[in-house]
Symmetry: C2
Subunit: 453 residues, 2 copies
Amino acid sequence: MVALEKKPLHQVVIVGGGFGGLYTAKTLANANVDVTLIDKRNFHLFQPLLYQVATGTLSPADISAPLRSVFSKSKNTKVLLGEVSVIDPKAQQVILGDQIVPYDTLIVATGANHSYFGKDSWKETAPGLKTVEDAIEMRRRIFSAFEAAEQETDPVKRRAFLTFVIVGGGPTGVELAGAIAELAYKTLKEDFRNINTSEAKILLLQGGDRILPHIAPELSKVAAESLQKLGVVIHTLTRVTNIENDIVTFKQNDELTDIASKTILWAAGVQGSALGKVLAERTDVECDFSGRVIVEPDLTIKGYKNIFVIGDLANFSHQNGKPLPGVAPVAKQQGEYVGGLIQLRLHGHTLPQFHYTDVGSLAMIGQNLAVVDLGFIKLTGFLAWVFWLIIHIYFLIEFDTKLVVVFQWAWNYITRNRRSRLITGKEAFLAATPPVNNSSHSPTKEQKQPVKL
Amino acid sequence: MVALEKKPLHQVVIVGGGFGGLYTAKTLANANVDVTLIDKRNFHLFQPLLYQVATGTLSPADISAPLRSVFSKSKNTKVLLGEVSVIDPKAQQVILGDQIVPYDTLIVATGANHSYFGKDSWKETAPGLKTVEDAIEMRRRIFSAFEAAEQETDPVKRRAFLTFVIVGGGPTGVELAGAIAELAYKTLKEDFRNINTSEAKILLLQGGDRILPHIAPELSKVAAESLQKLGVVIHTLTRVTNIENDIVTFKQNDELTDIASKTILWAAGVQGSALGKVLAERTDVECDFSGRVIVEPDLTIKGYKNIFVIGDLANFSHQNGKPLPGVAPVAKQQGEYVGGLIQLRLHGHTLPQFHYTDVGSLAMIGQNLAVVDLGFIKLTGFLAWVFWLIIHIYFLIEFDTKLVVVFQWAWNYITRNRRSRLITGKEAFLAATPPVNNSSHSPTKEQKQPVKL
């Protein structure tokens, strides 16, 4: 008897476990292909709620799903932890560390980072919000600022500690500004003895002529009014020209203003992750000015039918000439499209070009306050807030975090408390207190090293 | 009219926001004294559940209560963030950073750290479990070990990644061993493709002749049998003689054994925190061999009626000659005693000596498995597990975390999932993978720095 040699399965390699990579893998789960999902983290992060970690409402685990757990039952799917450094399109393989992973089809979905428009030195003073570590660092800075203000006797310095500047009026900037306003003016009001947290100043700086430029102008206006009612000061048509020594300088109507602030948060600018550049160099495909890879109508790249780029890293401009926005629904739909296309191709079929179905835009401003733009219907206030909640629960439903998050929200809603407001890392609140040399409670070397929580 | 000069209130300063400090402050809340609670962290940590953070069941915020939030309504209580470096008993003041805080009555409750019995070099290889950062580091090591084993092709190295050694057979060691066994043999069983997590080895090393020496011998035996049934290998009468290069050497019956293990966890030895020593030097009070301060029957120190030492930092041997154990109920009762005594003293009264009411001992082994020793009644198995749950809920009830924790437990219980198993910090799982120099997904400097979650 001669054993028939089994033909090896089609090898699909996905780099990145964000929304794009995750939904590609989900679509291919249990399909007749081998899938390798590579990510440098062992969890998928629900990025749209990251600002709630940064402002002390949720814990990192509440908005994360362990990748192995998500694909535990998909026996054709292998999760590989590591960072891809090289893509070799000729040899059809990617390299991470000393491992070589061959592919028949490759999906690159490594997302985007913040852009500081060439001023990378601003980054240290004005951190962005892309990773769990970013969120924990923001949380540390926000809550440490109040603590430092409580101990500061110099009124000028105290005001700098109580001044929060958020650069960028997109959804993240708006949500951060709203959440910090609620913290200062509501949650923390009774907690301090030397300062009045209501004296905190929260500034939102926006380059364009209105906040939330991606939604309808009338909703933008409602959002701005709601934020202002909460106590946020909004400056539109404003460009940051310098960030240095805890002073942010911005230009508005040709006038320069210097604001002393100990907490400057960055929510502006997008830049494709570095792997896009690596890919472009090896394939001669073009990137746009933000480092996003220009993709074909079927999300492949020019000259390589077996390489897809999706999500925030992709510049897809075949729908209305403008690149699709870097939001979760786009990445999700692209992942599903690519997963479907790969399966059809195995049988010699194909799909028409990718088409994004706009599911609308929404932004949370505060408790009972949100704006929702579905095109055919526009919601504001409490109704929008409920809708925002439902949409996010719906998205989370595919992971195992849904109940905990919903419960936590409800709990925070009732108690107006922020239980996750731990100041962790960097010796509790290094930024605020003068250095202490004689350790008392934590005498060990390990505990003295900068760490984050 | 002449305004009567108001007599300043009695100043109570509490150093440390653990169980001892917290309950002192709670007892004094709204009393006719001024209270200053000093801690270097902005939250109280429910340490008995820290092992559940280390093994991926709970998030740090689930077992923490922000101190300001706890005392928000107690207008006589001020929370001060900082690290006390000097105690000056003559001038009646403590110093933190450049701040001087005067006191009429001082309570020192800064707890204890792990002792490595003079072998501090072991600490890096075998971390302990006292702080949130410790727990996150343990979590990172445990889950990274499985990830590294999945990628390792050398069988010897792979076995080292799948070998977990826990040093110390007290409650923390037992609870860690049980939780890791459940992880390896149940939770993670379906999650990997190259390794069989059931091949993991979990060793529990105990110096004495039985684990959980503080409970009745028959319960010790049940606990040991339950652990062994879960898959844990227990070595009693075993002393660790060396930890070096991922090899732990231990002596049992004069025989030396070398075990290769990438994950060695320390749950043995106790050492009073450094502030105890500072205090002892300034007051000539004695410390025991573990650095705990010897206290008088009323928890003051010799020669200073206005300085109390309580909790894990105190050696109180006036009840049966042996020092009281370093557990939460002792600290709590001592805090309440001191709070009461301070109030009585204001009216010229006093209290009989402190008396600890033993509330029993208990340890969680795994799902549906615990041992409870109440003296008059002993429980094992499911009943003990339910009792353990109720006791912990009862303790948590005084904080705002209770519902979330209970819910999370229930959820984990039903799904047998560990949703908080994030590998964070130190570039995801640095210990396991070969160094990657060409950054791909995270090109920024900030993200490349060692950070923890």
